[in-house]
Amino acid sequence: MFDTCADPAALEGLSWFLCYLTSGKHMMFYWSFLIVLALLAVTAPVALGLGFAGALAARARAAPLRWVGKGYTAMVRGVPDIVFFLFVPVALDQGLEWLRHKWKCPDWDAPIRQGNDFLVCAQAKLPLSSSPQIWHDIYGFTLAVVAFAVVFGAFAANVLHGAMAAVPRAQLETAEAYGMTPRQVTRRILIPQMWAYALPGLSNLWMILIKATPLLFLLGVTDIVYWARELGATKSAIYDYPHPDWRVWYFLVLLAFYLGMTSLSERLFRHVSARLARGQATMAGEAMRKARA
């Protein structure tokens, strides 16, 4: 990074630390914080969308659709989310490879599962074994995002389903009395009203999502936990910057990062919930009305 860092052995004190903290590996460590933020930025909207679809499906009038919705919302109750984090990427990977195998190698007659092996033809591998490393990384990250989105979508479906049930029945009946169709009632009355009831659950879910991001490490993504272990481990004299076991300090940094993230979000949600309570027929809305009067 800096010219003075060319010979780390000659450095001392503060300049040693400055060079140490700007080494190439550390840059990758800082970069991996962005991976966490990227995961949050992608997962949150996708999970919200999945949850929304799941909650609407659970209220649907067509029975098969309703069963799908109810099954999806019930999925995460009773089973630890980590089971899904381990299961979904592998299952998805094998499912995709199997589909490609059917499509690309139709004349392959050996069974896919031979004893303890899962064998598909070379053209069906995902990504192809000849593709550069970056595609393997992107594929792994995508599978992780899908796993997170599926699990948190089910959580969100629970929250939104509860919120839809919490909208006062009288509001919907009034809309029906005005001659609105079920679809109009859902779109004009139910969905706009529901957010105020959903917000506490959703904010709680966001916190759980933030606190679930280190599990990326379990899915084989080189995330902040991976780098903290890698960089903190004892470095002997053959390394440029030898140091004893510093993993505890690296994990303290991660702890501080997560504490900062959760308290920042908490403050943000307090603002949003105040905004949503305005004009609502709830205790918070009533308190706001009285304060202004």
Binding site: I82, V83, A91, M207, K211, P214, F217, F251, T262
Partner: protein, 275 residues
């Protein structure tokens, strides 16, 4: 080899009784059910002990947080903030790396050597982290319940001349528990689910003695087939969750037994995902 033989060999494998080596090939359904079920012993061990110790600390923390005295309130606030605001996964890593740094030979305190090696083992170190973690979450629940103890109950206690410890023991504490119980049930379920993280977070599984998910992953890695071991693990956890709800439901009925039927809070069978 019949299924009974497999159960005899591997049923207690996770605590070091029975066959020493894990199966290498020919993984039957019976193998998977037996070993994953054997791993569940660890989940129950961590869950039950952390919950029992955590309950005591949580009550103390909730009381401290409700005090006006900042010397009691602030430490409780900070403890709850740190453990609720950061991921359990990171807490496990941090605790493990910190415990590894303790001197290998142990401390010398007044001529007595205090051993430290055992603290890095999962049964002690991970249990300690889980204990602190669940104490923080439960303390927040208990604090909320403590603040919603009806004023009338307290006035009635005053009218009867109850003060101090007796007032707490007979009026405040039972009411707090009654109000907190549905949320506390939920926390207990979360805790049991969180125990699956232990062997994925730095704490080594000594001689491959792991928990249910550890063995499920073992089978998934060996057979390249995730569609059998993970559903088995899921099945065990659903049974565990239902058992927990049943058990906590019994306690809930006892806590509410003095109330007229209509006012009794029924424990919902569907656990909320609020934490």
């Amino acid at each position: 080899m019949s299924c009974w033989d497999i159960i005899a060999d591997y049923g207690l494998r996770s605590i070091g009784i029975g066959e020493r080596l894990l199966p290498r090939s020919d993984f039957t359904l019976c193998h998977q059910f037996t070993l994953i079920g054997s791993g569940l012993i660890w989940n129950i061990y961590f869950g039950v002990l952390a919950l029992a110790f955590g309950f005591v600390l949580a009550t103390a923390l909730a009381l401290a947080k409700a005090q006006a005295n900042p010397w009691l309130r602030k430490p409780a606030d900070w403890f709850i903030y740190i453990f609720r605001g950061s991921p359990l996964f990171i807490q496990f890593f941090l605790a493990y790396e910190a415990l590894v740094l303790l001197p290998r030979a142990g401390f010398d305190i007044f001529g007595i050597t205090v051993q430290t090696a055992w603290t890095t083992k999962a049964w002690a170190g991970a249990l300690f982290v889980l204990f602190l973690n669940t104490a923080a979450y439960s303390a927040e629940i208990f604090y909320g319940a403590l603040r919603s103890v009806p004023k009338g109950d307290l006035e009635a206690a005053d009218a009867y001349g109850l003060t101090g410890w007796r007032k707490f023991r007979r009026v405040v504490w039972p009411t707090m528990l009654r109000l907190a119980w549905p949320a506390y049930t939920n926390e207990a379920i979360f805790l049991f689910h969180a125990t699956t993280l232990v062997f994925f977070s730095g704490f080594p599984a000594f001689q491959q003695r792991g928990d249910a998910l550890y063995y499920a992953k073992f089978f998934a890695d060996k057979t390249f087939n995730p569609f059998i071991p993970y559903p088995i693990a899921a099945f065990y956890f659903i049974v565990l969750t239902l058992a927990l709800i049943g058990l906590f439901g019994v306690v809930n009925r006892r806590l509410n037994r003095h109330l007229p039927g209509a006012r009794r809070a029924r424990l919902k069978v569907r656990p909320q995902i609020i934490r």
